[in-house]
Symmetry: C2
Subunit: 211 residues, 2 copies
Amino acid sequence: MTQTPLSSSDKTRAALIAAGLHLFSQHGYAGASTRAIAGRAETNVASIAYHFGSKEGLRTACAEEVARLISEAVGKAGPQPVGPSQARAAIKSTLTRVAGFVLGGMAPPDAIGFMLRELAEEGPSVDLVYARMIEPTHRRLCVLWAVATGLAEESEQVRLAVFALMGQLFYFRIAEGIVRRRMGWRAYGPGEIAKIIDTLTRGIESALSGG
Amino acid sequence: MTQTPLSSSDKTRAALIAAGLHLFSQHGYAGASTRAIAGRAETNVASIAYHFGSKEGLRTACAEEVARLISEAVGKAGPQPVGPSQARAAIKSTLTRVAGFVLGGMAPPDAIGFMLRELAEEGPSVDLVYARMIEPTHRRLCVLWAVATGLAEESEQVRLAVFALMGQLFYFRIAEGIVRRRMGWRAYGPGEIAKIIDTLTRGIESALSGG
DNA sequence: TTGCATTTCAAACAACCGTTTGAAGAATTG
DNA sequence: CAATTCTTCAAACGGTTGTTTGAAATGCAA
């Protein structure tokens, strides 16, 4: 943990990325003006071009920051599970960890929003996010799922099942507004997140034990 | 089926809505310029203001079109199921129908993309889409799910389970690019959609039969 | 301190934005 | 047919966009 003191330059860079993440995720890439971003970062418009070359440069800097944040939160692969019950436990703990990150305030809530935006726009950052985060995580879960079910690790059935699992989780984030409305929840607090995780866990349980 | 012939006005209106759906869903509301929309609809920029009052007017017209398309595709509620097995069958048939619409080319693919955009932007159309389509569909599925499981119709567990179910489906649409990449699919053809539906059906089966 | 590189800033740039305008075209009515 | 309404269009409007500029401000070594 080298804690180099932040230079003035580093601070504005970080502020611009934070502001970019927030406004990109809220209004989309085109909808977030450079002036609004600079204003939120409490600096001048020209800083964006100075530090990142262009608005597009800030976009990829944001993507890299998101990839960094997420891979940090998801963590590295645990030890290879030796049996189905261990694999099942590993799936559940991974899910809980990721859910806390995706749904809760463990990270800038803008990180996930930004990523989903990039996904929708098929933006230039999607390659980066896919290669650095989605593919490895998905692949790791496939291994666990295969061990837990006895199916082939890279079979279509396993890969699709893992996508379905991740899909449930992300949907609760994407459609947060709708879920809150329908559930009568004012926000995703710890209690609400626990209920969501409980729902997903229940699904995993029955998928892994049932036929 | 009254088949009134389309007037010139109706044709440009329809063309503008189709172009709006496409470009809004691809580049977001702010990212789609009125000139680009008019160009795609092969008409003049001023037509937007003439027919819809403003760009924002076109946005809500698009939302209404999406609501119309979807409620048409999802259809009305079937007869009240008399037992768990009937309810289970009704859930599966509803899922298959909705999946064909969401994933396949049964509707302008831009319709779902537009809706997800509005969701992300918390745009003004979200109320309309929620009230006209999401809430009723969700509520109907909750009834079926409750009958199939014996749980209370409006219990938190049922409502969350239904969201999880819908989430899987929508995620396969949202993350289509990623899924295709990971699966090595060139596109969502009938075969691929069948496999996805199969995955979701499997999940329902085990969720409803298992504990 | 002086000198130099780094970082910030207000101002200006062309290009594009959504919208308005008034005239021209097309369709409908009597 | 002429009269009238509806629809389209090129052009122009003020405002905002992303980016550039050159001068201040700041940080840091000598």
